[in-house]
């Protein structure tokens, strides 16, 4: 225990200098937090710092990527052949469906031209994988393995094979942080597929639940209705499935319905996502067309 005496020696003024140091650091922390909350002053600094901690991300996610790789390399020839056959079959079915789809799309564009609205552009996508690290436990966010080097930008939507997953909230160099649609801070503009009734689906913080708090009691919505993204707000591309209404409750004392919906994307099981890079047509054109059209359609559906 001789060493413990040597550790006291910087001690004479230690108390006061530690207090001063803590005060300075606390002020620094508060300044950082205020600047970060504004979400634009510290973007570059965050990016730079995230590059430094990237090795930790790699180290933590290494076991899961290694097991994936091992599984791929060690799987038997039969299994691979079987998978290959299955995928080819699927591909055939898909391309069959796609033929009719392209005809429909052309028809749709012709009809839109007749209505004098802008042509619908197809979306570009980028495949990304979810990095196996846990972000802060009180938010529903994930890290994907494509970042600003790959062209991912803040605000781009994430979808999986089934439906909408979330949106990119912060881009790093080789990865990006994304918020899931079920985060309690997240809201997505949606419409009902059945009657184009528009509303907003708000996250609840539970991974399998969205809520629709803004529909009045006479709204035409029933259990099992499919909600698709409406494309309003310009963040999410229009027409992707979001959730299925799981319960509709009408409280006599309240003006609004209590509606819950279950996200279609398997939010807690996804490994791969598509980053949708929306091609924005000339600014000012689409919003006008979008806002001008839906009211007439909803009115028609109501009658």
């Amino acid at each position: 225990m001789a060493r413990s005496t040597t550790e006291h020696d910087p001690g004479l003024f230690r108390g006061s200098s530690a207090g001063l140091r803590f005060a300075l650091i606390a002020v620094l922390c508060v300044t950082l937090m205020v600047l970060d909350q504004e979400n634009k002053h510290l973007v570059e600094i965050r990016k730079g710092l995230s590059f430094i901690v990237q090795p930790i991300v790699y180290a933590v996610s290494a076991p899961s990527s290694a097991s994936d790789w091992l599984f791929d390399t060690l799987s038997s020839r039969e299994a691979l052949q079987e998978e290959n056959a299955r995928l080819q079959e699927q591909q055939l079915i898909m391309s069959g469906l796609l033929q009719t789809y392209s005809a429909l799309k052309a028809e749709n564009n012709r009809l839109r031209a007749l209505l004098d609205s802008t042509e619908k552009l197809s979306d570009k996508v980028l495949i990304a994988e979810i990095v196996a690290i846990d972000m802060t436990p009180f938010r529903q966010s994930v890290l994907i393995n494509k970042g600003s080097f790959d062209g991912v930008q803040v605000g781009e939507a994430l979808i999986d094979a089934q439906g909408v997953v979330g949106q990119v909230t912060r881009d790093r160099q080789v990865s990006a942080e994304a918020l899931l649609i079920t985060d309690a801070d997240h809201a997505i503009p949606i419409e009902l597929l059945r009657n184009r009734l528009r509303s907003i689906a708000v996250g609840t913080g539970e991974i399998d639940n969205l809520s629709l708090p803004f529909l009045p009691r006479n709204a035409d919505i029933i259990e099992g209705d499919l909600l698709i993204s409406s494309g309003l707000g310009d963040t999410f591309p229009a027409g992707y499935p979001v959730a299925i209404v799981s319960s509709v409750r009408s409280n006599p004392g309240q003006a609004f319905l209590e509606i819950n919906a279950k996200p279609i994307a398997l939010l807690n099981r996804i490994r791969e996502v598509l980053v949708v890079k929306t091609q924005k047509p000339l600014a000012g054109l689409t919003p006008a067309a979008d806002t001008a059209k839906p009211p007439t359609t909803t009115a028609g559906a109501d009658e």
Partner: protein, 165 residues
């Protein structure tokens, strides 16, 4: 120079703790994840108060903020406060028997958890209720094991004759 070279066990254990903080866990266990980084930091602030202190706490907290995408400075502030309190009272805490020591660790973890709770509240993040207390409980229960492990590491570092480390 010899003093700064001796820092490797602290830095290595802080790095490992940082990794454990973001290690993927099932949804159910995630809210129970012990605050590894805070525990390791408390240990080193208590044992090597002249080497590990507020500055180390600030930088490791900043790294944690970046890693898990929280507000920049949130964990940094909570950890700096814990480091400040620990290095303020290390003479008392260090000679406590294990039970009392665990109680002090419980107090420190509670303080740090409250700091981040307040910051989240001010920043307008949704409140999460009782689940904030879970990491404090698991952290306190884990403390004796962390301490045993770190003691061994420190013993190796302090009694090593070779100048390699």
């Amino acid at each position: 120079m010899a003093r700064s070279v001796k820092l490797w066990p602290a830095i290595a254990s802080l790095l490992v703790a940082l990794m454990l903080e973001v290690l993927p866990l099932p949804e159910m266990l995630n809210i129970w994840r012990p605050p590894f980084l805070t525990l390791v930091l408390i240990y080193w602030c208590m044992m090597w108060p002249s080497k590990i202190g507020i500055i180390t706490a600030f930088f490791s907290g900043l790294a944690l903020d970046i890693l898990c995408g929280s507000l920049l400075g949130e964990n940094a502030l909570a950890l700096s406060l814990v480091a400040f309190l620990t290095s303020r009272f290390y003479l008392q805490i260090r000679i406590f028997p294990l039970l009392q020591l665990s109680a002090s660790v419980f107090a420190l973890l509670t303080i740090s958890s409250f700091v981040s709770f307040w910051i989240d509240g001010i920043a307008g993040l949704p409140s999460t209720g009782y689940s904030r207390a879970f990491p404090v409980i698991t952290g306190t229960l884990l403390w004796p094991f962390v301490m045993g492990l770190m003691d061994r590491l420190r013993y190796i570092a302090e009694n090593r004759k070779s100048s390699l480390f």
